[in-house]
């Protein structure tokens, strides 16, 4: 089955491991992620001011591209997901902004030769924006994943980290309960891991504050990592490259400031899925992690 796929710039440039692992897993589950022919950066953050039409254009443009391929688009990065989903909702619910955005998109097409056909009709939110984990649950089915799981992950204590953008705002993301989410728990249960419930799983990692105030991001991330660590997690999974970066890379700093700090590998959930499905470790690519998960995985005979 083919499903249109929007990688977003981070997965395209930086989080190549995430992109690769996710594609491999999809393939193993009989899904072909069909990357949009043309796509641009979604803008990374959804604008919260009421007068911003320009700021949602990037997201809308990508949705319009996607509408040529099908009625869904799958994405992985929490930020992309948040931006696309919310922009889509604006296009569905706000007639005024919808009209303006479509005018811009049309002007846009004229300017760029060769792709003028992408907007045959107004974009009105036809496409459903899916997160990869939703695809696993609703399109593939966790039962199928359970069947396809080859590796024995029992005893591996995994802490699912949701972060902010996947769940909030609830009314718009309609993703899961922002206080007591369940989807990653169900997923982990399907591939046979021990789920570690930890109280900071929906707290912020510091997000883009890493760029401005590194200390703030370190403090936030440390709260999250510590919390998982105290609950005995072996590994944290995430679905956001920024979370991955903050939680993993910043352990470099935590290590220095906290005596007896226990490092925990932070990996993408599709990397873990890949292990479960028996995909070759090379394809999952753990080279970018600061805290290398491989010793742990080797210890559990998973690589």
């Amino acid at each position: 089955m083919k499903i249109p796929y929007y990688p977003g710039c981070t997965l395209h440039e930086r989080a190549l491991d995430f992109d690769k692992a996710s594609r491999e897993c999809a393939r193993a589950l009989d899904i072909e992620l069909e990357e949009l022919e043309i796509w641009t950066c979604c803008g990374a953050v959804f604008p919260l001011t009421t007068d911003s039409v320009m700021d949602i254009l990037a997201g809308v443009r990508n949705l319009a591209y996607a509408s040529r391929l099908g009625d869904k688009v799958v994405t992985l990065c929490s930020f992309c997901y948040n931006v696309l989903k919310r922009a889509n909702k604006v296009m569905r619910d706000d007639p005024e902004k919808r009209e303006k955005a479509n005018l811009f998109l049309k002007a846009d097409t004229d300017a760029r030769e060769g792709i003028e056909s992408y907007l045959k009709e107004d974009y009105t939110g036809q496409v459903d924006v899916l997160h990869y984990i939703e695809m696993l649950r609703d399109v593939v089915g966790f039962d199928k994943i359970r069947e396809r799981t080859k590796a024995d992950l029992s005893g591996l204590k995994v802490a699912p980290y949701y972060g902010c953008m996947l769940l909030r705002p609830k009314k718009e993301m309609e993703f899961d309960d922002p206080e007591q989410p369940q989807i990653f728990e169900d997923f982990l249960e399907a591939i046979g891991c021990d789920v570690v419930d930890f109280p900071m799983k929906t707290e912020c990692c510091g997000g883009f504050q890493i760029v401005r105030e590194e200390d703030t991001a370190v403090a936030c991330s440390q709260t999250v990592v510590n919390s998982a660590s105290r609950r005995g997690a072996d590994v944290i999974i995430t679905t956001c490259p920024l979370c991955r970066y903050n939680l993993d890379e910043l352990q470099k700093k935590m290590e220095k400031s906290v005596t007896g700090f226990r490092k925990i590998p932070v990996i993408y959930f599709t990397q873990l899925l890949g292990i479960a499905l028996g995909i070759d470790e090379e394809c999952l690519d753990f080279s970018d992690n600061y805290v290398d998960p491989r010793p742990l995985l080797a210890e559990k005979s998973l690589v």
Binding site: C9, T10, A44, R168, P178, C204, Q209, R244
Partner: protein, 137 residues
């Protein structure tokens, strides 16, 4: 100093602007403080979120525009998600930043050059783009 209140002070243009830009009903806030209590970066803030809203309710926009708070907010939406009255402080924050950035008032914005020089090779693009858009307009 004694804060002199009057209809004029409370309903100033700038307050109206914040309400409009953020799409939030500032009067709905009943000062429960939940936004502040749950904010992950509140420790770094000079005026906590509920106090920001209180100041706006009193028509005091200037001190808020000068605050560190609006630049420290990580836009994690926790405040909005838990507010019992459906007030989104995160949006108010965006509006306040927008007012500063659009006027290019002084504010602790991110130095774009600095960022691109030192960080881009390392931090994920989305973080950099996000920071530039939220904190630099």
């Amino acid at each position: 100093m004694r804060l002199k209140l009057s209809a004029e002070v409370i309903k100033g243009d700038l307050v109206e602007r914040v309400a409009e830009l953020s799409g939030q009903n500032l009067s709905a806030c009943y000062q429960c403080g939940r936004c502040s209590a749950g904010c992950p970066v509140v420790e770094e803030m000079d005026i906590v979120p509920s106090e920001v809203i209180r100041l706006l309710q009193l028509g005091q926009v200037e001190p808020v525009l000068d605050s560190e708070t609006i630049w420290i907010c990580a836009s994690c939406l926790q405040c909005a998600s838990r507010c019992p009255r459906g007030v989104e402080f995160s949006s108010i924050c965006d509006a306040l930043r927008a007012i500063v950035l659009r006027k290019r008032l002084s504010g602790s914005v991110v130095d774009a050059d600095e960022v691109t020089r030192t960080m881009v090779s390392d931090a994920p693009q989305m973080g950099v783009v996000g920071a530039l858009r939220k904190l630099n307009g």
